[in-house]
Structures are given as structure tokens and as C-alpha cells.
Symmetry: D2
């Protein structure tokens, strides 16, 4: 299926390369990026992309192209989703759809009205370790879900300029964990309580954000989730989940580069987890695109639908409000329809 | 040092046996229990205890006895602490001192006024795995504490009759984790948010309690802790802690009966954790008594002082109030002076 | 660098795909296989190979082709090495060069005389876990090597027809471990003692082979290695190494598909190792070809030279003789020059 | 049952203390040691031993004493076994019975003739981790035993003076592993091949011994075992076993002081294993004595019988001969009847 991609930054390049190597069902015919430079163009062409252009229009107007992958900046996501939907093309869009809930709804509605498939790029659902936990939960092996624990810590905070426009830790970082919590809970969240602190960099506090946070979620089915985030884990990219249920408990550990353990006179040591997100989730990016290809080529439901793009944004809105007002906030307080 | 023990139920017997075997500095001269039966008497005497009696009075009146170990029911703790203090005897008292904060203060003040040592039986501080985490935190190796995660799950809920008089999950079960959180944070808690659910047994809900809970603690130093509790983990007694700091992360796993792993055609499996608290904390009970002996014989500070008995009760009060009112509760709201 | 490949069976296809995806320095211009079928031809062409032919001659005669990858059946290896060397092309040859030591020498000499590079396909040296152990040993961190332990067990014995022509377990299976032992020891083996048994399939015994074996190696530097092999590990592909030295010990574990662990009422379980060799050594096949590209393009020593192809065959010869005669056999007994 | 103990060195004291604390069926009435000093006497009496004497005679002559525990030096074992047997007393004797096979037979025969029970102190059979492996093997869960791997490494070599009289590494150190191999194999060894090296201390070589060794055992049932020993593992007392069978594989790890793991900027580390044998096998010493008490009090078979004392000595004899002559040695070559 001929595909167009909008945005050839870091994540765009990853998708282009993965599709060329591992997703035979899709063929990227056109890549568009207003900031396309020579180096990128060379890379993209080497991956077998026929057309490299500067504006997205040609993708929407190309009748051969049946699917669009949106990897542009967040503020353009909903606009491009709407345009792609109007052009009748299936859509894969990087997360989040938008931070404005009205825009999210508009994008979702456009896709729905056009009858095209929409998949949101919550890649962690496709990570082998997180997926493995989900599979166990989903199989019923640990019974009903009672408690979910998610730890998610980045190796380094982003630059302060980015922090200022990021929407805050709940929109920018914990949004992945909100998605993961829903994915694992099999239920919708009804209330959010967020505790935040500035413990890493006072500049982050001055920018109105926190760098350390713990959030409690209450789900419709009674399950409770706790998520902790830190902007700086000196030992690397740390992402683990645990689900405790009526018949048992399932959890995962981080991947590490190898299984080597060394015992010397002092201690026994192993390598730390990866420090680079792209290394940690290499396989997840491949799998999510294979899932998208499977959905659009074989006319299946996308595994991360529009609603899955909506809820984490509402959770982020509620968490932000909770941290600010020092009280639990119901999803219904931030919801619009 | 000659010692008296009040209460020869399960925990009392454990202390008697441990002292006789592993704490040479102490000698239990007298054991008192109003419900003393023949079997217990035989056991206690075999452990070398000279006098086995029914009332605590003789212990307080015996000038040879310099220390008292209180293992009676909770409602008698503060009363016996006050009597022992008046008699000038050092005191080891099982947790909690009392659920009524005024009684806790009275007991603490009595010990202070009498100039006797008071140690509270928060045994988990002496567990090799938890102590190992504390030692790493305390050494400064992981820097400033940012996040604390504590999971604490029991194999089985207590009988519903006990639940009704237990004071609730926060007083009865999570109180150990409140102590652990303070121990690891190195700071006092200022606010508590508790989310509770009835997911295991509706009878627990009818009794006004919850069986599943997640609590968020904010500390003076900015650190945040999340604690989760469940009354029933089918795989055994599950107690793990993790402390994340500016320079790294330290965590522990449960003890298991052996290190054997079996790989067959289906999977690789290991044994589960212990299902009996006494097996899990065998060493902790010995160590806490050795620490008490060290404090009273060598005139050192007790490692779990009266204040360490007070704070967890205040935290339990705040958590109970928070779960009931659906909002974060400050310690100052429940504090008395 | 333009490259030709001879043999497009399973391993040939893996190299073609890996080169097209991950080894930009090499370009496979021509693929030759006398048994080339349509399906293979389609696959090979999709990987960007220009010419798909039936005989190797055209590769040797093509002046544009500078390197040859030999993936044909073992009995043709030495012949093709000699022809490629005469044609002045660098050579990557799958292991083993040949089971006849005279042929191995002839091939090595041809490459040497022609001044072309020769790399043998002992892929395990490039596996992240084994390489990780090597790196620790090589760094000096565990001091002098004293003991090496290698376990290597396959999920299933090959078909009995294959067993009959395989040369036996020491040539066919343990040869990888002989290479690994030398790689880790940093010294040459001087004596081999092999104990074998038929415990899995009596047919293997009737074919004159064993299915279970333990071999002891003595090295020049005094180090001792023990290797165990089994033709059938029901739990999957099991390959672990351990090196014990004067300053410590390093070992690795198998890769498993994910890090998930499940605790239910019975036990705590994790997934087993891979059951398919290609999954276990995915990365190793890529890395060895990248190393070959690096050697031929940048004129470096190949990391697995001709001598590394010779020694394991001598060790297999000695082990076979040892198992047959029930005594340790010196390498000098089987060596030719 | 009233018991006498001969020898109050390190291991004797451990048995005395363990019996007083954990083995209620036995009561040590008399302890005899020609080198009894005041400190030891004080300790022994504190453990409740009534009589502390210098010669063993009084124990044999005391009609009240029904069982004897022999912890004296190895050269006196067989003599004391014979005397105790003649006196009609059950016998627990530290390993080995004797290095001279004729003496071993004499001792075994004496016990048999007298109809008294004889248990040999191979304590590792009672270690929770080794016992756990045995239980899995014994249950049939991993099917028929094909391969056994045992690693056994001490933190430090003994003093050179001890090495000279120790009988060599196979008698002194690997004898435990010979016992373990038989225990796990469920079959008798028929042939032994030993490779030894002097890699730690040349003085050990001058004393005619080796400090590093790997031994291959062939069992009657076809199973093969490999054992490696080192006199110096800088990271502590390292003892692991693995049994591979037709239906799976079981293995254990060392105990470590706690389960704490620390991740900092460099690596993730855990504590090393114990460096002191008494810490590693604390529970094993208790369990073996409880098993002895159970055997003598309840008239059961001892779990480590005379034959279990005989075989490891024959295996040590064969291994010593093998290392010296550079060839596999059959047990039948060293056996006497």
C-alpha cells in the first residue's frame, strides 16, 4: 500500500527506515518536510522513497497514496489528521493528537466521518516487555486487576526551552504512562490525584513545571494505579510496570544490553538499562508500524484508536489541575464532548 | 540484664525464644500473661524463664528487673508503658503504642519523664533486605531521596471479626509501611492522600474498611512516597521497597526459600516468597531485640524511639481521613500536642 | 564494495538480508546457487541483488566483485576458498572450512598466498552476551583465566540422516564451543578429554555418534575448560559461558523473549530461552558481517582468521579420538603441518 | 536421647550450639576434647552440657549415652567409630571417615556388626539450595539425569602447612562435590578423569598438590558430571550445582546476604556471596543434626550412610591417581573389599 509520510525528523526517519526494512505491506512513496535538508533527503532516498518534497499537500492530493504517517510537530497533528481524513487516507499519527481537547475531538470526528482508520503512536504498547505483561493480564492469568504500578524515568531532562513549551511533565512525559495504565487496567480512569515536586532543576520549577511526580489513578472497575515519573535517572531509561490481581502478579524489568554479570572482590554487577530511548524501544517502533500496516491492509481495527489518543490527554489535563489545586480531580471535570 | 515480658502470645513467645538463644545480654526472669496456659508455661520455662505468672504487677515491683518487653494486646500498651516507666524500667513495646494519639503522647511523656529508654517494635527496620536499602540510602550513595515506592501485600485477609476491631487497613497493616517510608525518607511527612477500594471481600467493605489501598505521602524534604497494600496476594507475603534518588536507585526483592530455578518445556520457574510472616522476618525479630539489648545495656539511643511510634499513627489517622473524605489530608490536621 | 555470495540456503539468505539492511559498506552484486528456485530468487532480488545465477564461476570471473561470501555445503568450502583466493577476492566462509585438516591447510595457504582476507563464520563470537564476557576477560578485570565453563545444548537433535553424515557431535555441534573456549582462554589448547554418552536417542548411538558429551580442555597457559553438550534441551536453545579468573568471575545467561515474570499461587515463572537458533543469534549474524565489511573495506585483520578455522577442527578430531579411545588426546597427535 | 560429643573445635562447637537450640530430641550430656580450654568449657557449659572432659573413654563407658558425635581430627575418626560401635552407640561422624579405604571399611563394618546407625557429616546435602535441586531431580520433574555440573570454589586456600597434610584437593575439598554428584546422579560413578593445575600459589604445587581442578565423572546410568574447584575465588564462597535431564534443567545460585540491588551511573550491583563457610551453610548444619536425631530417635535410616562415606573417598583416590597419571581411572582400580 502506497504511503506518504509528513515530517522527517528523528521519529520520521525511524519509521521510514523500519518500513523499508520490516514492513513489506507498506511502501513510502512520498516524504514531506518543510525543513528537509540534503542529508535527510539522501537518507530518505536510500530507504527507497521515490519523492522527497517540502509540503504535505502533494501527499493528500496523490490518489495512489492510501495511508499517511504524521510525524510533524504536535501543533500540526490535528490539522493534518483532518486533511488526511478528508482526502480519504488512513492515518498513523504520532502522540499526542493535540493538547487541546476540542482539537482532539475534531480530529477523531474527521477520521470517523471519513471512515478511515486512525492509529496513535503510543509505541510502548508494542514493546515486548510491556506487551508481555499485557498478554498475561489479558489472558486472565492473574485474575481481576487490583493494583497497577508504573515507574517511568528519563535519563536527562529536556532543555529548559523545551520544558517551557512542553505542556508540562504530565502532558509531555507521563502521557505514555497514562496510556499504559489504561492499556493494562482494561477500564477507564475516573479520578486523578497528582503530587509533583521540583527536586532536580529549579529552572523547571520557574518554568511552572515539576520534574518529579507521583500520580494515583482510580478506575471504573475499582482498580488503582500509581505512576511515578522522574526527569533524571542517572542509571538510564527506566520503565517498568507491575500489575497485581486477584490470582497473582505480573511485572517486567528493563532490557539491558547483555546478560553478563561480573563478580569481583567488591560486588556482583550487571550493565544498566539503555540510556537512549531509541535503543530501548527499537522493536516497539517496528511492531507498531507492522500493526498499522496489518490494520489498513487487512481492514482490521487499529490497536491504538482515536479514543486511546483522547483519554491520556484528559488524564494529563486532570493531573495538571490536581497538582495545581492540591486535590483529586475527576475526569468528568476536564472532559468535553 | 534481667528482663520481664508481658504477654506470651505468638509474638511474646518469639521474643522469649530469641532472647534465650541469640541475646546473651538479656535474661528473662519473669513472664506474665493473664491467659497463660500449661503448654505456654512449659515452653517458656524450657527457654529458661524462672517465673511464669499471670499479672504484670510482679514485674513492675521486682527491683531486679531493669527492662520490660510489652507484647500484650494493643489496648494495654500505653497503660503498661506508663507503669513500667514509673517503675523506672526500660521498655520495648510492640507496635502500635495506641491508636489514640493522646494515649501515645502520655506513654511517650511517661518514658521521657522517667528517663527510661523506649523502643517500638517496628521489626521491618531490622530485616536484612530493608535494612540493606536503608544503609545504601543512608550512605549517600544514591544522593538525595526523590521517590520511594513500597509494596506490601499479605497472603490472606484476617478474619472479618478482627477486621472490625482492627482500626482499618491503614492502622493495622499500612502502619508498618508508614514507618518504613519515614525510615527511608529521612524526613517527616506533611501530607497524606489515600485511595482505597474493596476488591477482595465485600464483607471488609461492609465492616467500613478497604482491602486494597494506595497512599501518596509528601515529605518535608520534597520527597514523594507511594505505598500500595493488598490484603491478599495469592503468591505469598510480598514486601518490597525502592528508593530513587539524585544519584541512583536502590531496591530489594523478597526472600525466597531457596535459589533453585527449574526450566522445563513450558517455562523457567522459581519458588514464591514465604506465606508466613514469621518465616519472612525471622532474622528481623532477632535483630530488633539485639538492638534493644544494645541500647539498654550500653546506654545508647533506641533505634526506634517513641517519636517513631507516634508518627505512623498520625499517618494512619490522616490516611483514614483522606480515604473517607476523598482529599489529601495534612498531618497538621490530625496532630495533637 | 561489490560482493558475491555462493549458496542461498537458510544462512545465505540471512547474510543477504542483513547486508542489504545493516551493512552499507557491502553490496551484493551476484548470488549463485545451483539449486536456486523461484521463491529464493524473488527474495534475493527484493534484497537488491542484481544478478541471480546458478554457478559460482561468474562470481570468481567478475572483476568488479572484490569479496566472496561462501555459504554452500561444507564439502565445497575449501574448494571455493581456493578459487576465490586465486581470483584475488576477500573471503568470508561459513564454518567449518573442512573436516579434513589437509584441506583446511590448503585453503588457508591459498588465502595467504593470494594476500586476501579470510574470515570464518563463527558467529557466536559476535553475540552480545558472549562478546560481553570476552570483553570483561580481555579487559583484565577478572585477571588470569583459570577455569572456563561452557554449556551448549540444542532444542532438538537433527534428523538421523543428517547425524550419519555430520561427522559427529564434536565436529558438528561442539565445534562452536571449541572456538568459544579458545576465544575466551586467550591461549591454545594442548590436550582434549572427551566423555560421551547416548542418552537421548539410541539411533544416534547406532550411527556411531553420541548425543550427550562433556569435554575437558587443557590450555598452554594452564587454564582448564569444561564444555558440555546435549542434543536435546526441552526448554530451548541453551548457551551460557562462564570464565573464572584470579580476580573474579564473569558469566552470562541466555536471552529470553521478554523480561516478564508472573507470580501465581504456585510459583514465579519467566519465559524460556529461544528455541530457534536464528532468533537467539539474530544480532550476531549482523555483527559478524559488519566486522567482515570493516576488515575488507578498511584493510584490517579479520576477527576470526584462518587459524581460528583450523584449531576447532583439530579439537574436534582430538575429542572424537578421545571419546573413542577413552583417554586424553594431545592436539599434537592429530595435528598436521 | 543423651548424647556425647568428641572434639570441641569449630565444628564441634557449632553442633553443640545447634543441638541445644534446634534439636530438642538430643541432649548433649558429655563433651570430650583433649585440648579443652577454659573458654571452650565456658561456652559448652552455657549450651547446657553437663560434663566437660578431656578423654573420650567416659563417653563410651557411660550407659546413659546412646549416641556419639565425632568431631575430632580425621585420623581418629575410624578408631572412634569402632569404639562407639562396640559400645553400642549410634554415631554421627564428620567427613571423611578416613583417607585409607581399609580403615573406612573397618569402621563401616564395625557399625554394621553392632547394629548401630552411622551418619557421615556431608552437610551440603542439607543445604536448602542443594536440597532444593535434589528434590526437583528426585521428583522426576526433569526426567532422567544426563549431565551434572558442579562449581565449588573457596575464598582462600588453606595455609601451606595444612595443604601438605590435607591429602590434596581431591580428598580435602572436592570430596564434598563427589558426594554431591552421587547424591544428585542417583547412580554410582564408574570412572573418573581429573585435570589439575597450579594457578594460584606455586607453593601448593611444590607441596605436590594442585589449586585448580576439573573432574569428569561417568556414572553407571550413563550420566556425566563435571566438577570444577578453585582454592581462591576473590568474590566469596561459590557453590552452585546444575542438573540437566531429559525433561528439563534445574540449577541453583549462591545465597547472598540480602536482595538489595543498587543502580548508579555506572552499573547495577548486588552483594557477593558469603565469604565464610559457616555463614553459607548455617542452616545445613542444623538440618543434618535434626536428620540424625530423627534417624536415631525414630529408628530410621540415616540420610548419609556409611556407603556415602566410602564412595567419595574412592572417587578422591581415583581423581588423585588420574591427575597424576594423566588418564581416566576406573573406580574398580582403587576399590578394595
Amino acid at each position: 500500500m502506497k504511503t506518504g509520510i509528513i515530517g522527517t525528523g528523528r521519529i520520521g526517519k525511524v519509521h521510514i527506515q523500519n518500513i523499508s526494512m520490516f514492513v513489506p505491506e507498506l511502501e513510502i512513496k512520498t516524504a514531506a518536510d518543510p525543513f528537509m535538508n540534503e542529508e535527510t533527503e539522501t537518507f530518505v532516498k536510500k530507504c527507497g522513497v521515490a519523492n522527497v518534497i517540502k509540503t504535505a499537500e502533494d501527499i493528500f492530493n496523490d490518489p495512489e497514496i492510501e495511508a499517511v504517517i504524521i510525524c510533524s510537530s504536535t501543533d500540526t497533528h490535528s490539522k493534518y489528521i483532518i486533511e488526511a481524513a478528508k482526502a480519504g487516507k488512513h492515518i498513523f499519527c504520532e502522540k499526542p493528537i493535540d493538547y487541546d481537547l476540542a482539537n482532539v475531538h475534531a480530529a477523531m470526528n474527521a477520521a470517523k466521518a471519513a471512515g478511515v482508520k486512525l492509529q496513535i503512536g503510543f509505541c510502548r504498547r508494542f514493546d515486548h516487555n510491556h506487551r508481555g505483561v499485557y498478554d498475561v493480564v489479558h489472558s486472565g492469568r492473574i485474575g481481576d486487576v487490583h493494583l497497577i504500578k508504573i515507574s517511568s524515568r528519563d535519563p536527562e531532562p529536556p532543555g529548559i526551552d523545551y520544558v517551557k513549551v512542553s505542556g508540562g511533565i504530565f502532558y509531555d512525559m507521563m502521557i505514555h504512562d497514562f496510556d499504559m495504565a489504561r492499556f493494562l487496567a482494561g477500564s477507564e480512569v475516573v479520578e486523578v490525584y497528582a503530587a509533583g515536586a521540583v527536586l532536580i532543576d529549579p529552572e523547571i520549577g520557574k518554568a511552572g513545571d515539576v520534574d518529579t511526580a507521583a500520580v494515583t489513578l482510580k478506575f471504573e472497575n475499582g482498580a488503582i494505579a500509581v505512576i511515578d515519573n522522574s526527569r533524571r535517572a542517572v542509571y538510564g531509561y527506566d520503565q517498568r510496570v507491575e500489575v497485581f490481581g486477584s490470582k497473582g502478579c505480573v511485572r517486567n524489568e528493563n532490557d539491558i544490553p547483555n546478560t553478563v554479570q561480573v563478580s569481583d572482590a567488591e560486588c556482583t554487577s550487571t550493565e544498566n538499562t539503555y540510556t537512549v530511548m531509541w535503543d530501548r524501544y527499537t522493536g516497539a517502533f517496528v511492531s507498531e508500524m507492522q500493526a498499522f500496516a496489518d490494520a489498513v491492509v487487512n481492514d482490521k481495527e487499529t490497536p491504538v484508536a482515536g479514543i486511546d489518543g483522547l483519554y491520556p490527554v484528559m488524564m494529563a489535563a486532570a493531573a495538571t489541575k490536581s497538582a495545581k489545586e492540591g486535590r483529586p480531580v475527576k475526569i468528568s471535570e476536564v472532559e468535553i464532548r
